[in-house]
Amino acid sequence: MDQDDIDDQKRKFLTAATTIVGAAGVGLAAVPFVRSLEPDASIAAASSATVDISHIAPGQQKVVKWQDKPVFIVNRTPEMLASLDQVTPKLLDPDNKHPQQPPYCNNVHRSRKPQWFVMVGVCTHLCCSPAFKPDKGSVKPGWLGGYHCPCHGSFYDLSGRVFKDVPAPLNMAVPEYDFVDNDSKIKITSLFPKTKLC
């Protein structure tokens, strides 16, 4: 080996280039291993809940457990839906400026269909589960129906929108859901990424 024939520049370049490519290779190879540690598809499948809504009478609310949280499903009457426009001045965020619902629920009734209301029943103040108070005048004079949280007294309307001057800062969250089985069931799948529960 003749020392004079060694091209140090070339050697440095080759070493650096190989190292960079090798490091990139190791990084890419690590991806499947790290990702295999994430919850797998079967856990993701178990994370949805399918609820039969055929037995819910008009005006009634059904509570189901989804991912260890209470979800409220209400069969809203036309009267209930009418109250939504009447309470608007009393609400903190009547136009859903905060994305507490998926885009397809960004409306007055905060649902896919006006009649069927699906919401995660967790108060946005400190996580208690508000009580369903649909009857007029049942909570205080002028009450048109909605939710009242027993813990610190926050009020919400029949679309889960929060009132002004209560401890809770946000409307209650509406999850991502679909109608399945010829609209006889509702399948709750996940939370819209930007929503805050409590």
């Binding site: 499947p32 990702r35 295999s36 540690l37 797998d40 598809a41 079967s42």
Partner: protein, 402 residues
């Protein structure tokens, strides 16, 4: 920065180890492709350990859920299919690499003095590897896993007096079941890998103590320069570290080609029968061990007696261990031993034929070829003490050729 390095080096022999084993460890300059398989074996060992750990996270060692846990890995776990195929491909690659590694040893006389202990440790690694592969194969609890476990553990029953008791120890019960899977997992994941790693470390240390052999079978330490370095040697780092990285790259391309495009390798790497859950009531019609155990299986089937077959099997497996003392010729490499070269070729062909016979159903037509090849295999080792003393050899050069 240099201060930190000095602080560490004063307290741990990093620099000395780097000199002794890398930058001032001299390896022959005439290594050919047969010398890549040792470092490739290390690569495969690393692949098996890493993929094995991640598989272990999802595996269930229970006779009701083991097979299903493999299905979970294949279908539900993110990239689970890749983890599984990496591990099965690695298992077969391990044996391909090791057999080629051993063949190199046979061809160039790497088992001869002063490398007898190196050969013995290497052979121990081979035996431990067979045990590791067998234990791992049982875990998915497919039909082949179950029956392979049943048959091999039954061999222990043949041992006089203590056979039955020992078999129940190995199985954890009277048959194969959850108890078996639990202990096989403990052996496969902890006990045997620790033994394997210890043996591999011993293997490399033993190699470095005497220095590597080379295709000419010449001892490079016999000719040193004025600075004490072997004239035909080059420092392992950077020459062989870099070259081995290249070799690793080529190997990984082949590995990935198999893993992504042909992981079952036409039922050779993952047998079709193992895609069925274990059925203790029915033996699969095409029951064979994995391809890497096939030559020995063919030998077993060639002997028409239960204990006789087991004895022949044991002898055949253990015979190569004694090569350093069976081969009496001081010339190492086949390049200068035409008779020995022919013997090695015959041995290789016999083993390959035996391997093929072992994969075929046991028909009477295959009995004679199997017995002939078994005879040739045994003859290689048993005739060596005599042949090696009288065989004519070519003149061995003083310095290495290319």
């Amino acid at each position: 920065m240099n201060g930190i390095f000095k602080w560490i080096n004063d307290r741990f022999p990093f620099r000395e180890m780097a000199r002794e084993h890398l930058t001032e460890y001299y390896a022959p300059k005439n290594f050919n492709i047969w010398y890549i398989f040792g470092s490739l074996a290390l690569v495969v060992l690393a692949i098996q350990i890493v993929s094995g750990i991640f598989l272990l996270i999802h595996y269930q060692p229970n006779d009701k859920s083991a097979f299903d846990s493999i299905q979970t890995i294949m279908y539900d776990v993110n990239w689970g299919w890749l983890l599984r195929y990496a591990h099965t491909t690695g298992a077969s690659m391990f044996f391909i690499v090791i057999y080629l590694h051993m063949l190199r040893g046979l061809m160039y006389g790497s088992f001869k003095a002063p490398r007898e202990l190196l050969w013995m440790i290497g052979f121990a690694i081979y035996l431990v590897l067979m045990a590791e592969a067998y234990l791992g194969y049982v875990l998915p609890y497919g039909d082949m896993s179950y029956w392979g476990a049943k048959v091999i553990t039954s061999i222990i029953e043949a041992i006089p007096f203590v056979g039955d008791w020992l078999t129940s120890l190995v199985r954890g019960g009277f048959g194969i079941g959850t108890e078996t899977l639990n202990r096989f997992m403990a052996y496969h994941v902890v006990l045997v890998p620790l033994i394997l790693i210890a043996l591999v470390v011993a293997h490399v240390l033993a190699l470095h103590q005497v220095g590597s052999n080379n295709p000419d079978g010449i001892e490079i330490k016999a000719h040193r320069g004025p600075d004490g370095r072997p004239l035909d040697g080059i420092p392992f780092h950077p020459y062989y570290t870099v070259k081995d990285v290249f070799g690793m790259g080529v190997f990984l391309v082949l590995f990935c080609a198999v893993m992504f495009y042909a992981p079952t390798f036409n039922s050779l790497f993952i047998e079709h029968a193992n895609y069925t859950p274990a059925n203790p009531l029915k033996t699969p019609p095409d029951i064979t061990p994995a391809w890497y155990l096939s030559p020995f299986y063919a030998m077993l089937r060639s002997v028409p007696d239960k204990l006789g077959g087991i004895v022949v099997l044991a002898v055949a497996v253990v015979l190569p261990f004694f090569l350093p003392w069976l081969d009496r010729n001081p010339v190492k490499s086949i390049r200068y031993r035409p008779v020995y070269f022919a013997m090695v070729v015959v041995l290789g062909i016999a083993v390959i034929i035996l391997g093929w016979i072992g994969m075929e159903p046991a028909t009477p037509a295959l009995l004679l070829p199997g017995r002939i090849c078994l005879g040739l295999y045994l003859l290689f080792f048993l005739s060596l003490p005599v042949v090696s003393r009288i065989e004519p050899t070519r003149n061995v050069p003083e310095r290495v050729t290319s």
